[in-house]
Each structure stands twice: as C-alpha cells, then as structure tokens.
C-alpha cells in the first residue's frame, strides 16, 4: 500500500516546513518588546553616551568636547569624594541589613507563637514609601524636637547630632536604609532556609554538631547562594540610593553626605551641566556593573 508508506513521510515534511515558517515569523512577536527596549533603554543609553562627549549646558549651544568631561572628573575633588562616600555608604548599608536580615531569617525559620504576625510586622518597613518614611525620620532626627534625642536623654545617654553633623550623617542614613531594607534580605534568606533539606541536620546532630556548628557548617554554606542574591540586590540598591538621602540630608551638611547620585543630580538639575552629568552617569553605571559582576562571579564560583 504505497499510500500507507508515503503518508507519514509527507506529514513529517509538512511539519518541518511549518516549523521553518514559524521560525521566519518569530521576529514579529518580539518586535513590540524590542521597540520598547530600544526606546526606553538603548536610545537613552546611546544618547547619554553622546551627551557625555559634549559640552552641553541647558540654554546654551552644544559643542563636541571629546573626553574633556571625563578628564574633568579626575581633577574634581567633590566627585572623587562622592565616589568614596558612595562606597562607604554602600558597604555599610549592605553589611548591616545582611547580618541582621540573616539573623532574623534564622529566627523566623523557627516555630514560635505568633510567628506570622511578627514576620508581617517585621517586613512592614519595606512596604512603606521611601520619601514618606524619610520625612518621618527627618522629624525624629530633629536635635531639639525629635523623639530620638528625647529617648536618648530619657535613658540618660547624651543626645546625638544625627544628620546635622558631617561625622554622623552617613551612619544615620545607613540606619534608615538598614531599617527599611533588612526585611528584604530576611525574606530572600528565609525563602532559602525554607528550601533546605531537614535530614542533614539530623545527621549533623548525630555527628556531634551543636547549634552554632550546624549553622556554621551546614546552614550558612547551603543558604549562601540566597545570601549572595540578597547582597547583589542590596548593593545595587544602596549604590543608587537617592530618595532617602535627598529628603533627609539633601547631601549635607555641606557635601558630607553627597553620594554620586546626589552629585550628578546637582550637576544636571542645579548647575544644568548636562554634558558633565552624563559623563558621571556613565562612570556611575560602570561602577554599578563592576560591583554587580564581582558579586555575581562569587555566586557562580560557589554554585
């Protein structure tokens, strides 16, 4: 029966053909997304890069400046200090939320009465609007009228200058950042802890490990990939922190809390030096990429 033999072959060829036709029309489906990406990511990027090579002030003519904007950065003390301050602020606001977040996750991974309620309360700061939160903190930081100094003096401790002194402003901002973003780290790590198998712990118990040794030798290595994810998110967030700092200290006193983000904001929207601000954005982007890549590399090395 020749029909019976030929029929399957024919459908196979047809299937292959139709698959090829699909392949040809795939690009139509990704076109909308491609347009959006090009319009809101690629074009702004290319344009920023273009602007960074121009001498460009709002309201005046634009001229090609080559690498002059970049060269200017090297001589700009305020810029270099902004980088150092950004790194200082970032390392502290990665360190504290991670330590406290991991500790909190370990606590919330244990069963205790009202655990769900406690967990909900713990993650509330994360859900608040940063600017609104910053305004409330600003009131609390007021040296004479703020509740924080009232509490300190009530407890017999000396009042603090909080954000009104260049020595305490960054640690104070880190405190706000820690308060708001520790829950995020906790949630990520808690998810990791929940996915850990239970039996290695029983084996470790028999092998003679105490609570701390279980944590050190089993929990920490197993949950490390999750901690790294939290580290990456936290590092990127802290590097580009703007709203909290802008509202609470505005980069002051003087420039003592001026991070890179605040500095480039000043350059672009206070001094209208768009060319120079664009060059800072390019360097800033490179810095964020570098930090992220370093952390991601650590991640792939462990997994």
């Amino acid at each position: 029966m020749p029909d019976g033999i030929d029929a399957p072959r024919e459908t196979a060829t047809r299937r292959k053909l139709s698959r090829r036709n699909y392949a040809r029309s795939y690009w139509l489906f990704i076109l909308p997304a491609g347009v959006v990406v090009a319009a809101v990511i690629l074009f702004p990027w290319a344009f920023t890069l273009f602007m960074s090579l121009q001498d460009m002030h709002v309201g005046s003519a634009m001229s090609f400046a080559g690498l002059a904007n970049y060269r200017r950065m090297l001589d700009d003390d305020r810029f270099l200090w902004a980088i150092l301050r950004t790194l200082y602020f970032t390392s502290l606001s990665v360190f504290f939320p991670t330590i406290i977040g991991v500790a909190a996750a370990v606590c919330f991974n244990k069963h205790f009465p009202l655990r769900s309620l406690a967990r909900t309360i713990f993650i509330l700061p994360m859900m608040a609007t940063p600017v609104a939160v910053a305004l409330v903190w600003t009131m609390m930081f007021h040296p004479q009228l703020g509740v924080l100094n009232y509490l300190l003096t009530s407890a017999g401790l000396p009042p603090s200058t909080w954000v009104y002194d260049s020595a305490t402003v960054i640690p104070t901002l880190v405190m706000v950042e820690t308060w708001q973003w520790t829950p995020l780290v906790m949630l990520i790590v808690l998810g990791g802890l929940a996915s850990l198998p239970a039996d290695p712990y029983e084996a470790a118990q028999l092998d003679g490990a105490n609570g701390w040794q279980c944590f050190r030798h089993i929990t920490l290595p197993l949950v490390w990939p999750f901690i790294l994810v939290a580290l990456v998110l936290r590092a990127v967030d802290a590097l580009k922190a703007f709203d909290t700092i802008f509202v609470i200290s505005g980069g002051g006193p003087g420039t003592s809390s001026e991070t890179l983000n605040l500095y480039l904001y000043q350059q672009a929207f206070a001094y209208y030096d768009i060319g120079f601000a664009s060059a800072i954005v390019v360097v800033f982007f490179a810095l964020i990429m570098l930090v992220t890549l370093l952390l991601m590399r650590r991640r792939s090395a462990t997994s």
Partner: protein
C-alpha cells in the same frame, strides 16, 4: 560495641499513641532488623534509639547506660538515613570526616579513619567528588562510610536501600551484611521489605501498628510464625490462609474439602480455625485434591501456580516444571508436617506452641 535494651517503650504524638509498649533486647554485636508495614512505628522506634525523637514512656539503654535524656551526639551511635542525608556542599572526604573534625581529631587520625572507611567501601577514587556527582549506590556507600568513620557502639540503618534499584539493592544487601561480619558492630536496621529482613538479620523484630508481633531468627519466623500477621508478612509469595474448622482429626475448609492436620495439634474438637500453608509446601500428588489452574508463572527456578481449590484461590510454588495450562485440573496436597493452624479470633498460633 554495646547491647541495646528497650523496655516498655511508648511514643505518643499529640493524642495519638504510635508505639504501645515495645520491649526488645538486642545483644552485643547482633544484627537486628525491625520490619513491618508502613506506619507500624519501626522508624519512630529507630529514631528514638538515635535520640532524634524523645521517649514518651519506658526506657532505652545502650550498653549499661539509660539514654532517654542523653543527646544524640552523646549516645555514641551512627545512623544511615533513607535518603542518605549527605551534606550536599561537602566532598565525600569532608562528609566522612565531619564528625571527626567537630571532635577536633588530629589530621593523622582523620586521614587514617577516612582512608580505612573509603577502602572498605571502595570509595578511595571518589573522595574529592560532591554527593551530586555520585550515583545512588555510591551515595549510599558514603552514608555508610560516614557511620563507619565514627566507630560507634551501634549502627542504625533507616531503610537504607529503599531508594536503590532492585539489582543494586541485592548487591548492597550483601555488602552491608559483609560489613557487619567484618566490624561486628551492634546493628539495628529498619526495613519494610521482608526479603531484606530474612536475608540480612541475625534476628528479626516484626512490628505491626505499634506492637511487636514476634521476635526471632529469620527461620524461626518462617517456620513457626506466632500469629496470622507474621504468617502473612514473612515469606514471598505469602502463606495461603484458609478458613474452616477442625473436625474429627481433619481440617474442614469452608469450601468443603478436608485437609490433613499438622502433627501435634493440641486443640479441642470442632474449633473454628485458620489453616496456613506456604506455597512451597504444597505438592503435586496423584492422590491430592483437584484444583483448577488459573495462572502459571514460571520463574525458571520454580513455577508459581495460582489455582482454585474448591473455589478458594491458593498460590503454589513447585520446584519442578509444571506443564499445566490455565483451565487444567491438577491434583495437589499440602505437606501436613509444615502446615500451620491459627485461632481465627485471636489470630494466635494453635499447633506446636513453644
């Protein structure tokens, strides 16, 4: 090495009692298997010996020491878990050395002990691998290696072979038995597989619904099951159980046929009972009772035949090759010497009580 003694051990989870007073004495160097169906409490009992579950009532002693309130790590035991419970982020070597590292043993001791265990189990080539790079059987060996390195008083095994394929299971069975013969460490082993229990154990503890049904050597359980549960649980294919009554020196099955009574039957006349006969103790005999063949399953070494004996299905296992086909009539007879009688109310053995 040490003995393990369980005295009236009870365990409740909330209001549910899962172990109702279990007493077992395990001798020094003995290989004892706890066997029973799922949910009979055997794993719970093992975990109680390990200290992973607390004892609600009763007493567990390892050697001369009562360990009810002793932490697992102080009990000097090692356990092999069903899913191995290896530390996924440690190499084979580190997995085995972990307990020694925690005890701050000197490097030379660690190397020597891990090296010896690796050599016993054939893991020497795999010491730098991670558990995820190993096959099921290799992981199983690492789990055993971790136990051997500890050189404990007692080994505990919790269904260690149930995640392996059939062929590997047979191989590992032999290896574990060999290991015990070599190390002579007291071993408590939990399984739901009665073949595993029969082939490996010095003594078997048959458990059912939180009770110990019988304790004995594999052949004692096979030859003289103390009750219907043990009779049905031990042996594969399972023992045929026929309902009926003892009447005038014979057993009259409900379906009407008369079967010869086993020797030394001590019972009153006209008692209802259950007649147990193992498939391998039914013979083809010309003077036997007629039975209709339903299914013939040749396995090569023997032929299993499912036949209807006056309406009651019975399984027979013949050493000889049977040429019968479904629908044929064969004549079969139980070997009366090897038959078992049980009380059909209490389920206890009637004939030849010890």
């Amino acid at each position: 090495m040490a003995s393990v003694s369980l005295k009236q051990v009870r365990k409740t989870f909330g209001s549910t009692e899962v172990l109702h007073g279990v007493s077992v004495e395990i001798g020094d160097g003995e290989f004892v298997i706890l066997v029973g169906p799922s949910g009979c409490g055997k794993s719970t009992l093992l975990r109680m010996i390990a200290g992973l579950e607390n004892v609600t009532h009763g007493e567990i002693a390892i050697g001369a020491r009562v360990v009810n309130d002793v932490a697992p790590k102080e009990r000097d035991i090692a356990m092999v878990f069903q899913n191995y419970a290896l530390y996924p982020h440690m190499t084979v070597r580190d997995n085995m050395a972990f307990s020694l590292a925690l005890a701050k043993a000197p490097d030379t001791v660690v190397e020597a002990r891990v090296g010896r265990a690796a050599q016993i189990l054939g893991l020497a080539q795999l010491l730098h691998r991670y558990p995820r790079q190993l096959s099921g059987g290799q992981r199983q060996r690492v789990a055993m290696g971790r136990a051997i390195v500890r050189d404990p008083q007692v080994f505990l095994f919790d269904e260690p072979l149930s995640n392996l394929d059939a062929k590997l299971r047979v191989q590992m069975r032999a290896e574990i038995k060999q290991l015990h013969q070599r190390l002579r460490t007291t071993t408590v082993y939990v399984t739901h597989d009665q073949i595993e229990a029969m082939t490996m154990a010095d003594r078997i503890v048959v458990m059912n619904a939180g009770h110990v049904e019988q304790v004995g050597t594999p052949l004692e359980l096979y030859d003289r099951p103390a009750n219907l549960f043990v009779a049905g649980f031990i042996g594969s294919p399972a023992m045929n159980l026929l309902e009926g009554q003892i009447d005038g020196g014979v057993f009259r099955a409900r379906s009407g046929m008369d079967l010869p009574l086993p020797a030394a039957t001590e019972c009153q006349e006209a008692q209802t009972a259950i007649y147990g006969i193992r498939p391998e103790h039914i013979q083809l005999r010309d003077d036997g009772l007629p039975a209709t063949v339903y299914v013939v399953e040749p396995t090569g070494s023997e032929t299993q035949v499912i036949a209807h004996w006056a309406g009651t299905p019975v399984v027979c296992a013949f050493r000889e090759r049977v040429t019968a086909r479904p629908g044929d009539t064969i004549r079969i007879a139980p070997e009366p010497r090897l038959a078992h009688l049980f009380d059909n109310v209490t389920g206890l053995r009637i004939n030849g009580l010890q």
